[in-house]
Amino acid sequence: VNAQQLFNILSIACLYGLFAVGLNLIMGVARVLNLAQPAVFTWGALAAWLVISDLHAPAWLGFVAALAAGVVLGAALELAAFRPLRRRKADELTVAIASIGLLTILVGAARSATGASFLTFARGALPEGGVVLPGVIATPAQLAIIGVTLGLVLLLSLYLKLSANGIAIRAAVYSDEVAAINGVNVDRVYLATVIVGSALGALSGLLLGWSFNNVHYQMGEPFILRGIAIIFLGGFGSVPGALLGALVLAASEVLSVVYIGNGIRELVPFAMIVAVLLLRPQGLLPISHEDRA
């Protein structure tokens, strides 16, 4: 394994990590395994493509568009489905199945919008080429993935630890009833969490679309089981757990390609889900109830 491969593992891990932190935030706080997250991911990339390549707007507006798509979809998912289901005391499995329905609808909408074609960003619309660092050659997209993920996760952790809203979120995780008695607007906490988690997912979609210069309605599909594998591995609801799980999955995938062969890569996330469920169902970094989120 050389420095270039290690760097590639780091950038893949950060991309997976950004997606999985969003997923795990929603799982930990709102107790929803949001299987529609891969469609939000796709729509993040699509929104950016529409703004950058269709409307010829500058690249930074593409990032704004991806974030906006995440915010709008997150709010829609929570208000149209997760909140009514919570009101009716639906269990975790029922909500997860409903989110598969939302996934189906959003992927269908993405197919209608793109006509099922592969879209590429116009040449030069986003930074491309290679940046030579000591020992490795990085693409601008890889650097952005690493920078955005580490920066946002750090911000998110500080926000959850220090701000008044962060404390309210952690209180709602501990017990939504006790939090409500103490004046926390629990509905607003859930809404904010699903919005933030979806925005992270949409942003990771844009970053993947940028790094492969390819936007497609099915681009989220590989992330359905990868996301599940990562949050199982890291432990439900834990932000550091999601990052560790992403690192383990990315390393296993890259190393399996290096040492065994290309075909095996697709099996890694599934094998990981089975192994974690059978051997350590609580995940690598299980969190005591008080520390969730």
Binding site: L33, A80, A81, P84, L85, R88, A90, D91, E92, L93, T94, A96, I97, A98, I100, G101, L102, L103, T104, I105, L106, V107, G108, A109, R111, S112, E221, I224, L225, I228, A229, F232, G263, I264, E266, L267, P269, F270, A271, I273, V274, L277, L278, P281
Partner: protein, 289 residues
Amino acid sequence: LSDLLDFLDAYQFLAFSVIILVALSLSTYVTMASGSLSLAAPAFMAIGAYSSALASIHWQVPFPIALLIAAAGGGAAAAGVAVLSARLRALYLALMTLAVDEIVVTVALLVPFTGGASGLSGIPFETNAGWMFGFAIALVLFFWRFSRSRTFRFLSAIRQSELAARSLGLDIFTARIATCAIGGVIAGVAGALSAHLDGFVSPTGFGFDLIITILTAIVLGGMAAWYGAVLGGIVVALVPHYLVAISSVREYVYGGILVLVLIFLPRGLASVRLPLRRTWANARSVASR
């Protein structure tokens, strides 16, 4: 009668696709009868399809033997998964079985003897209307008897409260494995029938899309009774037939059914009659007083 036969002939392939989806819904329903939803029916269907196809192509076994091989393969694989996942419940079991399905599809793409992505062709065309309708009648008879059996009441007890069932001395481990094996046998036979109907098998047919279709069928039909799974399977199999003109509409319909039914009718279509029936029972008890 000849009109009926003409009608069946014209709509034979539609009827076959309805029967296959109903079989897969029942295969999933039977795992839920003991309270644990398994999403791996497509995986066991694939195992049945490939095992009977390979046995027919390489060993020229007669079709009934190929069906038995498919049933044994699907049942054994399902029992194996059930033993491995005996400790898992609810969401965790559903996700584990989702991963099992993806593993089977990916392995079918990778190993040489399944023909990879291009699939297996040259499977003898053996499935005819007799086999298909025979399978459908066998399923209906089985579930009709099964839902009235003592075993089924054990399973319902487990579904309603595992703790209470265990304290009554019911063997939960064996019950789970038996229901999963029955589900695997049904899915395996369905796979063999569809492989020998099309003369062709490829991994793409057994992926996440099929799981969504099955989930839509059983969510729509509901978990209240086995005929819910039948009803859901029939409706969902007919949807693409009537909406084939506009491709994405199918996705909106399936997704919409999943979300709306779970919010507004969480026990599905099979539960709709229940209030009526209760009214009827009340009326009778009032009348007899």
